[in-house]
């Protein structure tokens, strides 16, 4: 299958605990996205990142705040 790059939002975390907390909350509340290995262009963060389509950014930013998830960085990139 050919890979098609799309604009994505990527959230990084200082610890895998926060990455897994993000996944747990998103699964429970049907929020968009999934865990991915941290992209090479991001040097900070733990080994996992959360990504979703760029159109989800505003909703996810709000979701992260509401669920008190500690995010280290927020990036927009073609993935």
């Amino acid at each position: 299958m050919a890979r098609i790059k799309q604009n994505k939002v990527v959230y990084t975390f200082s610890s895998t605990v926060w990455a897994l907390k993000m996944e747990q909350c998103c699964r429970e509340k049907m929020a968009a996205g999934r865990l991915i290995p941290i992209p090479k262009d991001i040097s900070a963060g733990c080994g996992m990142a959360w990504t979703a389509g760029i159109e989800e950014k505003a909703a996810l930013d709000k979701f992260i705040k509401e669920n008190e998830i500690e995010v280290e960085g927020i990036y927009e990139m073609l993935l």
Binding site: S15, T16, V17, L20, K21, E23, Q24, P37, C46, G47
Partner: protein, 375 residues
């Protein structure tokens, strides 16, 4: 077989613990070492176990719970991770060697150590302890309960003294985690060390350390963390700071199932059943001529331990006789609690320790009582 050595390790466990280990051993990858499905299954199990432990101990959050192999490793981390040459520390004669030996090591590099004694029934000398917790003291290392007598310390009262005097309060919960309520916030606990295989009924090789808000300690071991690969230093964020190398994911899966059982059942119910069995045993054996029982039984709030001696008989011989003739499992000897034995004058003789689980029965109690009467 009648197993009465639950203070050494759980033998009777809810069946779901073994089932969870078996499932995990065939289904999980290395937690936090990737995001493929197998690794994520492991990662989720580990994360959810942290959440359960944080809930059980009222810890700040799941990130404050780090896994270790046992309480000894956790206590070594705490003791060697916060003390520096020139520091002053306080501990008690009730401690296990997992506290005492690392502290004696620290004494050799310039830490000064004060050890608080007990009364004739092995109860902590609270007046001396309160006096000792003062300015200039870095930390108090204190067990929640003696593994020899079953006497329980009032950690809430002690914790408040420590917080008031800005002394770090490090608690060894080896004998109480999963059985007695522990609230890191209300008990003012800065560092909680626990094992997974005793009261928590998880597999051997599981344990952990919970850090209070704002507490950081030097790691005992550094290395692979799955994060910040190209940094020369081990990550400082919790829990990775205290977790170098692959975790015991299979064991943690079993621990998770055990904690779920405990939270569903309720620790009060588990504790009451154990205490009832221990009390029934105590009430019957105290009538045996020449018996000596150690600990404060006027206090109902006890770990389900009854340690005793029959006259001057070698505790090892009594325990071996119970094992050989009745297939009753007890623990004899020093129980890694040298200062308590010195206090009781039982260094030579040791003690025979009977420790009960909620899965024991009154029939087990009667069998042990009758066997002792036959000796």
């Amino acid at each position: 077989m009648i197993y009465l050595d639950s203070s050494a390790t759980s033998f009777y466990r809810p069946p779901q613990v073994g089932e969870a280990v078996s499932r995990a051993i065939n289904s999980i990858g290395n937690a936090s070492r990737g995001v493929h499905e197998a690794s994520l299954i492991g990662g989720r199990i580990v994360f959810e176990t942290r959440q359960s432990l944080a809930e059980l101990f009222h810890a700040e959050g799941p990130e404050q719970v780090a896994f270790t192999a046992n309480a000894t490793e956790s206590l070594n981390m705490a003791i060697k991770g916060i003390l520096n040459p020139g520091d002053r520390a306080v501990t008690t004669v009730m401690e296990h060697n997992s506290v005492l030996r690392p502290l004696y090591e620290m004494e050799k590099v310039g830490v000064s150590l004060q050890i608080i004694g007990t009364d004739a029934s092995g109860r902590l000398d609270m007046a001396s302890l309160e006096k000792a917790i003062g300015s200039g003291i870095k930390a108090l290392f204190c067990t929640h309960a003696s593994n020899l007598t079953g006497n329980v310390n009032d950690i809430r009262r002690i914790g408040r003294w420590c917080r008031e005097k800005k002394v770090l309060f490090v608690v060894d919960a080896s004998q109480t985690a999963g059985i007695f309520p522990i609230d890191m916030e209300k008990d003012c606990i800065d560092i909680l060390c626990f094992t997974g295989h005793k009261g928590l009924m998880g597999p051997q090789g599981t344990g952990g350390i919970c850090l209070g808000k704002g507490i950081s300690i030097r790691p005992l071991v550094t290395g692979g963390s799955g994060i910040h690969t190209f940094d020369k230093e081990h990550p400082s964020c919790m829990p990775e700071a205290l977790e170098a190398g692959t975790l015991n994911g299979h064991g943690i899966a079993g621990l998770k199932a055990a904690i779920e059982y405990i939270l569903d059942t309720g620790i009060e119910l588990i504790r009451e059943k154990e205490q009832k069995l221990a009390k029934a045993f105590y009430e019957q054996v105290r009538e045996i001529p020449g018996i000596r029982i150690y600990g404060d039984f006027s206090d109902e709030n006890r770990v389900a331990i009854v340690s005793l001696n029959l006259g001057d008989e070698d505790s090892g011989e009594v325990s071996d006789w119970l094992s050989q003739n009745y297939n009753i499992c007890t623990r004899a000897g020093g129980h890694c609690a040298p200062l308590m034995h010195k206090a009781f004058g039982t260094v030579e003789q040791g003690m025979v320790r009977f420790s009960f689980s909620g899965f024991n029965s009154m029939e087990d109690v009667s069998a042990a009582v009758n066997a002792l009467k036959e000796f």
